[in-house]
């Protein structure tokens, strides 16, 4: 087999592969074996027609198509390896049909899109403004307040409703003394000041007491969505059943006891706990921010001409991933699209941007790994297996058996190391 290759466009390569006659004859043999299964000739059992008879009757030419498939399947990957190219899509194949035949060498041409060349820009010493990792008193205060609000309860109150209270009401709306559709409900819990009703409604309920009835005159806003109600004057008859107010618990040891956290029984302890949690959170945030920024900057500085086919493939893969995940949840893509009101084309568009970004990132990181001679050592691979086995709670051997080919894993580690490299070389600015 001889392989020649020439660049015809950016990212596009034409391979000319010539296969020896012997190899092509092998293809013919394989093709015959495949085709003969469905051939009947009088005098012979089905699928048992001798080669000689078959060729006399149908001609060797009838085997060419299958033979070409066979030959290409068997030689294409070797050819790709020999030419040292990295295809990213299926090749477009053409063959020299005029000079082909039994006992003759066979030539075919494969036009294939390859991985684009990456011209790295600045990637060492990228300037990043790190996020602050200091936990301030204010942060702790906010966190405590959040905690308290989460544990607050609605309690009944006798007094008049204030802004922020919740009232349980029956209400019915009338237009020209006639009830209108969607204008009523019973036992509806409405938080005053939440602006969930039309303007004015909630304000006019302030001061209402339990068991009180009120009639509210209102005008629907001009931009209301229902055509027949726009700008109309209406009357709402409201009956209030209950007024509830939100009671925020006090920060004391009783409250902490209720939280039922281990080893925390005093306010001070709670504060320390929150501080440590916030510190780790901020640290992770800062780290992620740093990684995101460097990778993003490095890939933006690099010059890559990503071929359309590559984006297309990645997008397809992402959609398939999503579809698979949905199926695991007992859904499917069509149903999901119906619920969310999206279309397949829309989803495609949406993923395309992400795909582009992902490819950009990966290509840049790969190139950086190559330039910086980042290699994965045996020990690192071993460590990765141990980590995986821990997270899946499976023995290391079993995890290993999932990866008959460690190439993908190595690539993964390599990219991660490239990221580490970027982070190590960051120039922090204020």
């Amino acid at each position: 087999m001889t392989v020649k290759f020439e660049k015809i466009e950016d990212n596009k390569v034409k391979l000319t592969v010539t296969v020896e006659a012997e190899e092509f004859n092998k293809g013919l043999d394989a093709a015959f074996k495949l085709v003969v299964k469905d051939v009947t000739v009088p005098g012979f059992r089905k699928g048992k027609v001798p080669r000689l008879i078959f060729e006399k009757k149908f001609g060797v030419e009838s085997l060419y198509e299958e033979a070409i498939n066979y030959v290409i399947n068997n030689t294409y990957y070797d050819a790709v390896n020999e030419a040292k190219i990295e295809p990213v899509a299926q090749p477009v194949i053409d063959a020299d049909f005029e000079n082909m035949g039994k006992d003759k060498p066979f030539t075919y041409f494969a036009t294939v899109v390859v991985k684009p060349e990456v011209k790295l820009g600045l990637y060492k010493g990228i300037e990043v403004k790190p996020l602050s990792q200091i936990v301030t008193d204010e942060d702790i205060e906010n966190e405590l307040n959040n905690l308290l609000t989460q544990h607050s309860e609605l309690v009944l109150k006798e007094a008049e409703a204030e802004n922020g209270d919740t009232v349980v009401i029956d209400y019915e709306g009338f237009k020209d003394d006639k009830p209108f559709e969607g204008g009523g409900a019973t036992n509806y819990s409405l938080k005053l000041g939440s602006n969930s009703f039309i303007p004015g409604f909630e304000e006019k309920l302030i001061g209402i007491k339990a068991e009180e009835e009120r009639t509210i005159e209102l005008t629907f806003p001009e931009d209301y969505h229902a055509e027949d109600l726009k700008g109309q004057d209406v009357i709402f008859k409201v009956k209030c059943h209950e007024v509830k107010t939100l009671e925020v618990p006090e920060l004391n040891e009783d409250f902490i006891k209720e939280l039922n956290h281990e080893n925390i029984s005093t306010v001070a302890e709670l504060k320390t706990d929150i501080t440590t949690k916030l510190t780790t959170k901020k640290e992770t945030e800062a780290k992620n921010h740093l990684i995101d920024t460097v990778v993003d900057t490095a890939s933006n500085n690099a010059e890559i001409n990503i071929p359309e086919e590559m984006i297309e493939n990645e997008t397809e893969a992402m959609i398939n991933d999503t579809a698979k995940r949905l199926e695991q949840q007992g859904m499917n893509l069509d149903l999901y699209l119906k619920y969310t009101g999206g279309t397949k084309a829309g989803l495609h568009e949406q993923f395309k941007g992400q795909a582009l970004k992902r490819i950009r990132y990966n290509l840049t990181l790969e190139e950086i790994a190559k330039t910086e001679n980042i290699e994965v050592t045996e020990a690192e691979l071993e460590a990765e297996f141990t980590k995986l086995s821990e997270s899946y709670n499976l023995p290391v051997e079993q995890v290993k058996s999932f990866f008959p080919d460690t190439l993908a894993l190595e690539q993964d580690i390599k990219l991660r190391k490239a990221v580490d490299f970027l982070v190590d070389n960051v120039k922090e600015i204020e």
């Binding site: 012979f44 001798p50 000689l52 008879i53 006399k56």
Partner: protein, 95 residues
């Protein structure tokens, strides 16, 4: 000597003989009942212009065939399996 075309009557092409042709360079013919190995060898040499290594012959017995109540038989014939000297082939057998 009789005409070789009278001795070699026709090739016999079946799954089995196809295999023999491909693997052992042996060609199978129906031949005149009266012919012997030497005559067959010479006839094949002359007709196809090839070197013959050896010839095996056998008589295929007549087989009884019945159509309804009438009984008859398929005629028997003499079969010759001719092994050629390696390197020789016969291009024949129109189907």
């Amino acid at each position: 000597m009789r005409d070789p075309k009278d001795i070699i009557k026709r090739p016999i092409i079946t799954e089995k003989t196809s295999d023999l042709m491909a693997s052992e360079n042996k060609y199978t013919f129906a031949v005149d009942r009266r012919a012997n190995k030497i005559e067959i060898k010479n006839a094949v040499k002359e007709l196809f212009n090839v070197e013959v290594e050896k010839v095996n012959i056998m008589n295929v017995r007549p087989k009884r065939r019945r159509v309804g109540r009438y009984e008859g038989k398929k005629p028997g014939y003499k079969k010759a399996i001719v092994k050629l000297v390696p390197g020789n082939t016969i291009e024949l057998f129109e189907v």
